[in-house]
């Protein structure tokens, strides 16, 4: 029983080591196109991770996550405007705090209720933030805002790597290696029982939501400085949320490595799609179809196909006997 587990641990440590080495040396050997690609992959992996915290771990589906990304972007942009002139790094925590406050305002009344309330509330929040950004003057309206230009791709690669890796570390420690993770999962699996264990379910859910709101805000700030121009369409577009949903579902909901797999695979697939078909709205159809297919046929995501995964065994044990009457796939 313990031997295969240890072997698995060793092999995953080796994989982790290789990935870490590749990421840390990337700027020294990758071309500028690949470096930009990697920065974007990191961005999406980080965003997918944040969505996985609230959806996969806390069990509440958020359709407005991109609002936090946009909030982070706008806070950084506004604070770096010529008249204000803050240091870039000082703007990131501000964005995080604003996102946390808004998350609390949305989460507090709705996380007590069943998931649909929260789903719609977050959706409406994203629409509201977008409308606000489009009409308000401080955000530059639909024209958007321009940031000071810093054309140093390596700098942004390091920033994005630090933010995403940092977020990963924090989430891994909190959700997989601490009591907080047990609380979150217990509340997700059975709320009345969790309360009967002394767990303050509402508090735990709000903490998880705030954690998952802070990450996109920081990433949004970095991204805004990188692309130097933001507007509601680029930073608050609903398609961004759609993309997050599908990335996490494809990767593996509630699994710590799901977002890495889903984020990487889907971002690269999207780039390929753009190369082949141009920037078409047909991509939205594709995203929707992927969500439907994953929900129907691979609800545990690509992670469940990794050899030796507990989920794969779970699927085998509990779904197979019913497979003749249900899916017949996976």
């Amino acid at each position: 029983m313990s031997a295969p587990i240890r072997r698995r641990k060793t092999s995953s440590l080796i994989v982790l080591g290789i990935v870490a080495l590749a990421l840390l040396t990337m700027p020294f050997w990758a071309g500028s196109y690949n470096l930009r690609l990697a920065t974007n992959v990191l961005l999406w992996v980080g965003l997918a991770l944040s969505w996985n915290v609230v959806c996969g771990y806390a069990g509440y589906i958020s359709f407005g996550h991109i609002a936090f990304f946009g909030i982070g972007a706008y806070v950084t942009a506004i604070l770096m405007q010529p008249g204000v002139g803050w240091n870039f790094f000082a703007t990131l925590p501000v964005g995080a705090v604003v996102a946390a406050v808004i998350a609390l305002a949305v989460g507090f009344p709705t996380l007590r209720l069943r998931g649909a309330y929260f789903a719609i509330a977050t959706w409406a929040m994203a629409e509201g933030v977008r409308e606000l950004a489009t009409v308000a003057s401080i955000t530059g309206g639909s024209g958007g805002l321009v940031l000071p230009v810093k054309s140093d791709d390596t700098f942004f690669y390091w920033c994005m790597l630090a933010a995403t890796a940092g977020a990963y570390l924090v989430c891994f420690l909190l959700l997989e290696r601490s009591r907080f993770g047990y609380k979150v999962k217990a509340v997700r699996d059975n709320e009345p029982a969790a309360r009967a264990q002394g767990i303050n379910a509402n508090l735990v859910k709000n903490q998880a939501f705030i954690l998952s709101a802070v990450i996109p805000a920081v990433l949004g700030g970095i991204n805004a400085y990188w692309i130097t121009f933001i507007n509601p369409d680029s930073s608050l577009n609903t398609i961004l949320t759609d993309q997050l949903v599908v990335m996490v579902l494809v990767g593996g909901l509630g699994h710590i490595w799901g977002p890495v797999i889903g984020g990487t695979v889907l971002y690269l697939a999207q780039q390929q799609f753009v190369v082949l078909f141009g920037d078409s709205t047909a991509y939205i159809v594709l995203v929707g179809a992927l969500v439907v297919l994953v929900v129907l046929f691979l609800p545990d995501g690509l992670v469940s196909l990794l050899p030796g995964s507990r989920r794969l065994n779970l699927i085998r044990r509990f779904i197979r006997p019913r497979a003749t009457t249900t899916t017949g796939s996976s």
Binding site: L113, G115, G128, T281, A282
Partner: protein, 291 residues
């Protein structure tokens, strides 16, 4: 007078919200999944009417039953999928159900955007320039027609629920799937039936709505929020509640656009919903939490 006219105009629109929300609420009760595609059914109904007016030389409102049949058929195809996801043994079926209907909504939105682009479209009917003056109150014919359509549909739907055997089965399943199943109700078939009825009904309302307001594929989430607003305020399974709050939403929307700006409708609706949830945490709707 302006206030009075605005309220009446709002009530007329509200009729459509009542019809949409009623089907949405019942389908929610039976399938136990909030259909996040509800707004897209509205939008797709409107675009069906747009297609009809582009291709055929008839008034798009004359073909309402056709939209019903077509979208009921689509709904009947999708319903078993929702049922299967909601009732299988994977982790978090409630959440997966939401994700599934979200996937549907995304497919619909992407298809409409690809087919019709971002340009707003309006359903043009023979009633477009007609209006009636009743005691100094100007009633646009399209709104009146919309209200009448909604009233007929709502009554028909209520009759189905309360005076037919299938309606009884629907109400039984909404109360308790297990017990209804034990009583010999085919839960899966009932779910399919109600979902098909609801999608057909919603699309018909959408076609009428398209004559009153311009539509874009991006408006789906807005109508989803509206339907949800009505159902949350009304309480689950309450027909009278839906009637009152649906009309209320119409009036609210009308007042906001008359005295402020139509741009703020969504924000006002959202904030009202927020306040309601804050003040009545156990919602209205006392069913236990699922997702």
């Amino acid at each position: 007078m302006e206030l009075f006219a605005s309220i009446v105009g709002g009530l007329l629109i509200g009729g459509l919200y009542v019809a949409i929300s009623l089907g949405f609420s019942v389908a929610f009760g039976v399938l136990d999944v909030v259909d996040l595609a509800v707004g897209m059914w509205v939008v797709m109904g409107a675009y069906a009417a747009v297609v009809v007016q582009d291709w055929l030389d008839v008034d798009p409102l004359l073909l309402l039953p056709l939209y019903f049949l077509f979208f009921a058929l689509v709904g009947a195809v999708l319903a078993p999928l929702i049922y299967r996801v909601r009732n299988n043994r994977y982790a978090m079926p409630a959440l997966m159900g939401l994700a599934l209907t979200f996937g549907f909504a995304t497919i619909f939105r992407g298809s409409l955007l690809t087919g019709f682009g971002y340009t707003p479209r309006t359903v043009r009917t023979g009633l477009a320039n007609t209006s009636w003056n009743i005691f100094g109150l100007v009633l646009p014919a399209e709104r009146v027609a919309g209200f009448l359509t909604a009233a007929v549909l709502t009554l028909a739907f209520a009759w189905f629920l309360y005076f037919t055997r299938s309606g009884l089965a629907v109400r039984a399943v909404a109360q308790s799937k297990e017990n209804a199943g034990l009583m010999g109700v085919d839960v899966k078939r009932t779910s399919t039936l109600i979902y098909a009825l609801y999608t057909g009904l919603t699309a018909m309302c959408g076609a009428v709505m398209g004559a009153i307001y311009a539509m874009t594929p991006e408006l789906g989430p807005r109508y989803t929020l509206f339907a949800f607003f009505v159902v949350v305020l009304a309480g689950l399974g309450s027909i009278w509640g839906v009637l009152v709050t649906g009309l209320l939403l119409g009036v609210l929307q009308s007042l906001v656009s008359t005295f402020w700006s139509a741009d703020y409708t969504l924000l006002v609706v959202f904030l009202s919903l927020f306040v309601v949830l804050l003040l009545l945490p156990n919602g209205i709707g006392n069913r236990r939490s699922v997702a």
